[in-house]
């Protein structure tokens, strides 16, 4: 049965594409392609009834962001989504520092829902929407 929303654990981290993208420039196509996406488990994508490269809306207690869902190629990771570090990941990450200065970038509870008609914002659009500049 196709579900409307899926409860997942949000992880963020590095990918080699993100590393190359950040050196080519934060407004480069490489950085946009590398960071405005999330890796999802193929089984989870089937549960939501979406195909590879479909846009999804990721929501946490801190906000929501539209990202391109990409099937995680290496192994099954049911219940996990992985967003490479960048402004898109930080739109939904938890800022709770648990009194030691470090926000909780990994292991945040999140919800994913299909959003095939919504657009992934570019870095300029995202900064404008979130910070008004």
């Amino acid at each position: 049965m196709v579900e409307q929303k899926l409860k997942v654990t949000l992880l963020t981290g590095r990918t080699i594409e993100q590393g190359v993208g950040k050196e080519k420039g934060k407004s480069s196509k490489e950085y946009f392609d590398a960071c405005s996406m999330c890796y999802m488990d193929a089984g989870d994508m089937a549960k939501l009834g979406i195909k590879n490269n479909t846009n999804v809306l990721v929501t946490t207690a801190n906000g929501s962001v539209v990202l391109k869902a990409v099937k995680y190629p290496r192994a099954a990771t049911p219940g996990l989504i992985y967003i490479p570090y960048g402004p898109w990941a930080n739109a939904v990450c938890s800022h709770a520092t648990t009194s030691i200065g470090m926000p909780s970038f990994k292991g945040t509870p999140a919800e994913v829902e299909p959003a095939p008609t919504k657009k992934v914002l570019t870095i300029e659009e995202l900064l404008k929407t979130e910070f008004g500049r």
């Binding site: 590393g19 190359v20 290496r74």
Partner: protein, 490 residues
């Protein structure tokens, strides 16, 4: 055309110092020995994202101004601020970091570096229990068991395996590269057979490898000869694919897993079948490998510092290493991200006594993570100005922190037009450290290495050091004038 050898790569904490660059007409045209990120930096540093002149936000838009105007505006902001944050420092030279401490002391602000969102918890863990560590050279030559816990060097430190661990040809331990290539070939062959079986070219199913199919029996990958590589992560990363043994831990449960391994290496019994989603018999195999190695090392990353437990994870990881040293030789090292984040901690520590999150607002250095760390100051909106240098919090800080950052004047010093520069009020273009300016950087094992200048910076673009020095001089002039005005008024 000239070739420059032994260039130190200014990207990650590996600080590979065997890069060979070909320079033509003051431009890098060829990179040898570097990884994908290294090539992207050396070949792309002159790209469209480069900031060309100082900029100031006027009527909502960044407009070009002269260097003097920008320096004066930045100094005015800092001299008049009560509690400014001076953040970043990790992608610049230690020489610039030193002036940063002086500037922060002068303006009575908070000096914090990117360790706060990286290995800050590791530093807290080390302050609790100490750290048994070494230089990477020792590991390259002697380590026979390498563990990457909560990190993916293939993505973040692409040459770490090749230069310092499993795939390095050491004096006493040899490279596992050939064995890895053979494993890949075998896997490719197996896939071909499977695909041929599926398409009907082969009628009978080939027998499966017995080691993985026996119920309850873990694979015997750790009984092989030579260097062993264990990866522990919440997902099968690229580094996990290279490992002899991969353990998939449930998110936020690394602490439990480490405590379970501590019990096992002390010959204790666990009365559960699984810990953090990992069957105990797998953990027993790991515990055996840990105790029976001659020289083991744990490298750890954000998988431990950013998940539940944070610095407690590091504390228990170091305690595990301490326990292991009762049985064999074991060491531990954090995988530092930015090329000079270690330097930022070292410089801050030798100048102020504390490695990060140092508050100078009372006139003397104070350190209380959770209060004086820039993330907490930002979230509580206690600051009234920010200077960001050689980092990109606009892209890498949680939304609320950046929202509070842009409420007050934001000064940015960076070569790139990154997310923070796009949000900035006063933006300085800087020369690239390690390409256009020389300096010193500390490798992840605290070894200082020289960074080379291989090309001239574009005209009118100064080093971080020079920009900071000019701002500091201007701040002193403004403060002197204010003091004089005060005296005259009374």
């Amino acid at each position: 055309m000239s070739i420059v050898q032994s260039v130190t790569c200014p990207i990650c904490g590996c600080l590979c110092d065997d890069i060979e660059l070909t320079i033509e007409n003051n431009e890098v045209v060829k990179v040898k020995n570097g990884c994908a990120i290294c090539e992207a930096k050396f070949l792309g540093y002159r790209g469209h994202h480069r900031i060309k002149t100082p900029l100031i936000r006027k009527d909502g838009k960044l407009v070009p101004v002269s260097m003097d105007e920008a320096v004066h505006a930045a100094a005015e902001v800092l001299a008049n601020a009560n509690y400014p944050i001076l953040y970043g420092w990790s992608s610049t030279s230690s020489e610039a970091q030193r002036i940063g401490v002086e500037l922060t002391e002068e303006v009575g602000g908070v000096m914090d570096n990117t360790a706060v969102v990286c290995h800050g918890p590791s530093i807290l863990g080390v302050q609790e229990v100490g750290i048994p560590t070494c230089t990477l050279g020792q590991i390259r030559h002697r380590a026979d068991l390498i563990i990457y816990w909560g990190c993916d060097p293939w993505s973040a430190h692409p040459r770490h395996l090749e230069r310092y661990t499993s795939f390095a040809e050491g004096r006493f331990e040899k490279s596992e590269w050939k064995a890895y290539m053979q494993k890949l070939k075998a896997q490719a062959g197996k896939k071909k057979v499977q695909s041929a079986t599926r398409s009907g070219l082969i009628k009978t199913q080939p027998p499966r490898a017995s080691s993985c199919t026996l119920p309850g029996a873990p694979p015997s990958a750790l009984s092989k000869r030579g260097r062993k590589l264990i990866v522990i992560d919440v997902r099968k990363s690229m580094s996990a694919e290279m490992a002899d043994f991969f353990i998939q831990v449930e998110p936020n449960k690394d602490y439990e897993l480490m405590q379970a391994i501590r019990v096992l290496i002390k010959d204790g019994e666990l009365d559960v079948d699984k810990v953090a989603g990992v069957p105990v018999e797998y953990l027993k195999e790991v515990a055996d490998a840990l105790v029976n190695c001659e020289f083991g090392v744990i490298f750890f990353g954000m998988g431990l510092t950013q998940t539940a437990g944070k610095f407690r994870n590091i504390e228990v990881a170091i305690s595990l290493v301490r326990d292991l040293n009762m049985r064999t030789k074991f060491l531990i090292m954090p995988m530092r991200g930015h090329f000079n984040v270690t330097g930022a901690n070292v410089v801050s520590a030798w100048q102020s006594g504390y490695p990060y999150g140092v508050d100078f607002s009372l006139g003397y250095p104070r350190y209380n993570p959770g209060e004086t760390t820039c993330m907490d100051v930002l979230i509580k909106d206690e600051h009234d100005a920010t200077l960001v240098i050689a980092a990109d919090p606009g892209a890498n800080f949680p939304k609320k922190a950046v929202q509070n950052m842009v409420k007050h004047p934001l000064i940015v010093i960076d070569p790139h037009m990154n997310a923070t520069a796009m949000l900035g009020d006063i933006v300085f273009p800087a020369a690239f450290v390690g390409i256009e300016v020389e300096g010193t950087a500390y490798r992840m094992d605290h070894v200082p290495l020289p960074l080379k200048k291989v090309v001239e910076p574009p005209e009118g673009i100064y080093s971080d050091e020079e920009i900071l020095r000019r701002i500091l001089e201007e701040v002193r002039i403004i403060k002197k004038q204010k003091a004089q005005q005060k005296v005259e008024a009374t």
